[in-house]
Structure formats: structure tokens, C-alpha cells
Amino acid sequence: MGPTGFVYLEKLTEFSALLRQEGLAVGPQETADACKVLESFGFSDREVVKAALRAVYAKSQQEQSAFDRAFDGFFVSVERREALREQHRAEAEELARRRSEAEQELQVNGQSMDLREDLQEVYLQLSEDKREYLRQFLEKSQENLTRSPKLYGNFIRSVFMRFLLEQQMLMEDAAVGCEEADPDLALLYRDISRFKETDIPRATALIARIAQQLNAELSQRRLHAGHSGKLDFKKTIRRGLETGGSFYRLSFRRKRRRRRRLVLLCDVSGSMLQFSEFALRFIKSMSEISESSRTFLFSEGVYEVDPFALQNMESFRSYVRSSGLYGKGTDLGTALEHLCTLRPSPLGPSTTLLILSDTKSIDLPRAARALAEAKRQAGKVLWLNPIPEQKWPYVRSIQVMSLLCQMVPCSTLDELARACRKLVQA
């Protein structure tokens, strides 16, 4: 290999390291393969090189998207590199200017607001209209601020923090950016509460597909979990007949696995309806989850759903509206107390109580006490929470409830699928 060859080997090694950072499983074998491929195909056609390296490095559709991004960022022409360098220089200057501006703006009573570094970065990335909104708010509060500097100083800081946290969540939405490349993939990582009316048929089809995949995966794992049972004489003798009475292959009795009974408690108050609908669709389409289930819907009151009504999820919304629960507040305490006092009791040692709620409820202490009682009666309690995990430290009710039971983030369909897998393993 000549000096040029070594340069490319070095570049390829760097590229492999970059792909590893992107989450691709790249080992020395892939790098060696990439070298062979480049030696054979040459470097004259960028698209050919890209397709050849993609075949070597990317091993799934998701990995192909990550590879394309990494390739386009790593292998750039000289002109493009120059342009990028110029662009980076301009961006760095702009960033420095905005940073010094932000330092001036994020001050109350002439002192820094002392915001977290990541939130300061979010402020830098805000569009001009959003920054203007905050500036105006600060301006309007000036009079109060002079009257009571400490009280209003804290208030202004909390408003800024909340606004910036919300913006941070919007920016961190994993679906942003991959919508064009693969709309289904984007849907998988997008916050369920942000699904538009037009996304719903696609999301429903996606749920059916993921549930089918999960069912197949879980049932195979169960079927082939090894033969820990006793010898099945009848089957062994029957199989032995094929080989003239010699027992070449032994058959074992499979241990019967008892799936847990599931009790679902779904919050269908205004903001939760969309999430509950999708979560129920998912759970109901997963035959591997439980052998029987009962579903209760709640807002201010609580209502057991007729299992036949849930067979047709298309009419779920109208069903909820006719139940009288729609558009009301949330009283988790009443719902849980109802479950605990119902006779015969739906809860028991072989039951998993699955709560679909954002934890926001009236009379939080009563709800917490009722949850503790429900946990005592049920074998296991799992909470699927549609609020993104990064927001949890700022929601008091989540902090309280997560001390009492296992809470799983479920803001996206991907997280919902992971939660269902966890539910089977529970």
C-alpha cells in the first residue's frame, strides 16, 4: 500500500470511529472490507463510493439513515470544505455576538439569572420573535421588580426557566429532521401528543406492524426458552417410531407459562385522550402481554369498559364521549379507591395494574395513599407516563408517584413498544 493508501486507511479508520459514535456496530472487519471495496471501486464516483461503503457499514434501514448523514458530513469535496470552513467561521462570530447579547439579556436586577448552561444554550438558539417575547415580558415586569426585587426576581427566573425548558424539549424532539428521510421512523420517535389528525392512520398502521413484530419476537422467545420440563414419554415414543424404535430425539414437556392478568386504568381527561387511545391500541394488539384484562377509564369519575367496545378501537373516542368522562378534570384518587373497593376485587397477586396517566390529579396526597393501597393489593403496578422523561424532575406529582411504583416514560411510540416489552418481562 502506497502513501496515498495509508492516508485513505487513516481516513477510513476515522470514519469507522465516527460511525461507532453514531451507534453503528463497526468493527475492524468492516474497516478492512471498506478498504478492499475502495481499492476495487476507486474514488472517481462519489455516489458509487457511498453505496459501496453503505453496503459494508450499515446493517439496517435505521443504520442506513445514520450512515448517509455521517458520510455526507465526513467526505466533502475541497470546494465544499472551504465553503464549510467559511460558514463555520461566520457562525462562530455570530455565536459569540449572540452569547454576549444573551449575557446582557439574561439578567435581573443587574445580576445574572444563574440559569443552567444548557438552558443558556437554548436561549441562544431561540428565534428572534421568541427572544422578543421574553424581552417584553421582562420589560413589563420592570415596575413590579423595582417594588419587590427578590419576589419578582425569583418569579421572572422561574418563567424564563419554564419557557426555555419547553423550547429545549421541542428542539430535542428526535423526530425532527428525519421526517423527510423516513416518515414512519419520524412518527416512531415523535411525541404522541403532537400527532396531527393526518398522522393518525399512519400511526395506527405503524402500531399494528410493531405489535406484530413484538408478538412474533416474544412468542418465539417463549417457545424456544429451552426444555426445562419433564420428559414427554408419549411424544418421545411416537418420534422414535420414525427411526425404527430408537430414541434418537427426546421430547420434553414444556412448562406452561402463566401470563399475568392485566388491569388497565386509563386517564381519558381532555389532554390524555390521544395518548390513552394509542396506548390502548398497542396493548390490546399485543396478545403476548396478558391472558385476560379489564379496562377502566377515568377522569373525575371511573367507568369500566365493555371489552367488546374495545375490539373496535376506531370508535374509541366516541365511546369515551358517550361515557360522560370526556372534558372533565382528573381525580386519580377516586379511581384508585374505586378499584381497591370493588368486589370481587379486580386486583390480586397475579395481577399487573397498568396506569396510563400523566400523574396530574386533584388531591395528590389522597391519590398517593390510594396508589399505595392499590400496590398492596395488586402483584405489580406499572405506570406509563406520556410526559417526556427530561421533564420529570420539574413535575412534583411525578416525583411523588414514582416513589410508589415503577414509572416508564411513554411519550413516543418507540417508548410505548419498549414499555410493552418490559410489561411482558415483568
Binding site: 472490507d33 459501496a52 453503505r54 446493517k59 417457545l223
Partner: protein, 324 residues
């Protein structure tokens, strides 16, 4: 083999390809790696193995995977009946060790597709179809074959491949495949074809079909695939079936009536038929008659104002396709 040579061979096999596909095939061939192909059902994954066998002038050995597939069906099995018969016949033989040895010889070995592909004197194309339907154990068992091109038979020992087969694995992603398997393969994901490619496929596979009809069918299929309400998207094979059916009925223009008569060739379940009822693709020049035939609908079937007119799209596609 270089890119152009492979392209020529694919052309000779009447296979419609794009550059990225050819490059990936060549990478797999040159590295001697198995090729894992994923994509929705009916996009032509299996077809690639068939075409490669034709292009490379090799025999195609096919292993269809299913739940419960094991070594005895995929690799080898001893012919137990013949062994037992042999024991009975040679019961009084003086040298029992020799008899035992002879029982595990080639004579009693039933060769299954995997063994056949690696013991073949001439290189073959091995198609392991729908690997996602097989169990995880079988997938793990394949690892030795795919990475070392050898298999171990306890009674005989390790059998190394005489020639390197070109291995093609296909998956519909019914379950995720293991990382270990993926790492041993070159990877290709196939999407549904674009309008131009679909027209080219119809032309290549059905050279006698009316050009106007081919464009109309391709456009209608594209519309059906874009329709979110359709659960089972029509495959390429179904496109070709539809064209054949229309040809057989002597239909040269895809009117709504013709669509209604033959839609069973592309839509295979009642939900999809119902969903398509509201949005049956409107071929060019058929908008008027569509309104007449769809008396029960209250909504307007014509394309929304902000969307480009289908006629223009078809004409553009026709021009692009003719330019190829």
C-alpha cells in the same frame, strides 16, 4: 467482474436496477459476503437471487425458512430407514466397527440445501428466503456457515465449502434479526419502485403491453401505495398480474369500470377494497366517468387544487421513461 459487466448481465436478465443496487451486489460478490436484503413484501427481494443466478450462470439453491425449521431440513439428515435396513441385512457381518463406520458415510447422508450449496463442485447462488420466519436457534446455527463457509457434522467432522456460494438472505422484518447475523452480511434495503422504475419494470417484463396502459397502471399503483388507508400495499408482482389481467381482458384504457372489474388483482382484503372505494385512482381522462360511476359518494373525487394534476404527472413520467 466490474460494474458495467454486471449491469450488462442484469440487462440480459431483463432486470430493472439502479446504480446503488448494482454497487451493493458487486460489493457482496467481491467481498464474498452474504447479502441480507430487507424491504416490504413484494418489492423484489427474492427476485434478486433468481436474477443473480441467471446473471452469474449459476444454479439457484433455495431454502425457504419457516417456524420450526431445523438442521435436518436445512443442512443434512441421516437416512435412518436405509441405515436400519443395512443393519438388518449385514447383521452377521464379522467386523461390526466397519459396519458402524459405513453407516455414517455419504451413502446414507441426505443432502439438504445448505450442504448442497457448499459441497457443490460449481459455485451456486444460495437463497435463504424469509430468514425472519425461522427461529433464533436456526439463525445462530447459520452463523458458522455464513462467516466460515463451513458446517460441522458431528459424525463426519467439519465440511469446508469447495466453492464459495453467493448467499442471499431475505427478510420481511417480521422480527428483528440478530446483530451477529447482520454483521456477517452486506446489507441492502429495497423500497417500492418509483413511478419511472415501475413503468420500466412493466416494459421489461411485459414488452407487448400498451404503453398508455403501462403508465396508467404504474400511476394507479403508486397512488394506492401512497394511500395510508391501504393496509397491504400492492407489490411489483401484483402490478404485473394486474397488467396481464387487463391485457387478457382486452382492456387498453384504465377506466374506473376497468379498475372495478380487476382490482382483485391488486387489493387482497375487504378493508383495502373498501378503503380504495373512496379513493380509487383516477387515470387520465377518466375524471368525468368517475363521477358518473360513483353515485353513492357525496365528496368530490377530483384531485385537490393544490396537488399537481395526474395527467401532467403521467405525461412527465412517460417522457422520462421514453428518455431512458
Amino acid at each position: 467482474m466490474d460494474v458495467q459487466e454486471l449491469k450488462n448481465k442484469l440487462d440480459a436478465a431483463h432486470y430493472v436496477y439502479d446504480d446503488s443496487l448494482v454497487t451493493t451486489l458487486l460489493v457482496a460478490l467481491q467481498l464474498g459476503r452474504p447479502l441480507l436484503i430487507e424491504g416490504a413484501a413484494g418489492v423484489g427481494k427474492t427476485e434478486i437471487a433468481k436474477v443473480m443466478a441467471q446473471a452469474l450462470d449459476r444454479e439457484l439453491v433455495r431454502l425457504q425458512c419457516y417456524e420450526g425449521l431445523d438442521e435436518s431440513k436445512a443442512l443434512y439428515e441421516w437416512n435412518y430407514q436405509k441405515q436400519l435396513l443395512s443393519i438388518q441385512v449385514q447383521m452377521n457381518r464379522q467386523n461390526p466397527e466397519e459396519l458402524t463406520r459405513s453407516l455414517f458415510s455419504d451413502e446414507y447422508l441426505l443432502e439438504r440445501p445448505l450442504l448442497k450449496s457448499i459441497r457443490s463442485e460449481e459455485p451456486v447462488v444460495l437463497l435463504i428466503d424469509e430468514i425472519d420466519k425461522a427461529d433464533e436457534e436456526f439463525e445462530a446455527f447459520l452463523l458458522e456457515l455464513l462467516s466460515e463457509m463451513q458446517v460441522s457434522i458431528p459424525e463426519i467432522g467439519t465440511i469446508r465449502s469447495k466453492t464459495i456460494p453467493f448467499v442471499v438472505l431475505t427478510s420481511n422484518r417480521a422480527r428483528p434479526l440478530s446483530e451477529a447475523l447482520r454483521r456477517r452480511c452486506a446489507y441492502l434495503y429495497i423500497q417500492y419502485p418509483s413511478l419511472e422504475k415501475e413503468i420500466a419494470i412493466i416494459r421489461a417484463k411485459q414488452p407487448n403491453v400498451n404503453e398508455h396502459l403501462a403508465v396508467q397502471v404504474a400511476q394507479a399503483i403508486q397512488d394506492l401505495r401512497a394511500n395510508d388507508a391501504i393496509l397491504k400495499k400492492p407489490s411489483i408482482a401484483e402490478t404485473l398480474d394486474w397488467v396481464s389481467a387487463l391485457e387478457a381482458l382486452g382492456i387498453s384504457d384504465l377506466t374506473p369500470e376497468a379498475v372495478r372489474q380487476t382490482r382483485g388483482f391488486v387489493l387482497k382484503n375487504s378493508e383495502d377494497l373498501e378503503a380504495a372505494e373512496d379513493g380509487i385512482p383516477r387515470p387520465e381522462g377518466a375524471q368525468e366517468s368517475a363521477h358518473q360511476h360513483c353515485g353513492h359518494c357525496h365528496h368530490d373525487h377530483a384531485a385537490p387544487a393544490e396537488q399537481p394534476d395526474d395527467t401532467d404527472k403521467i405525461q412527465q413520467a412517460q417522457q422520462r421513461a421514453e428518455g431512458r
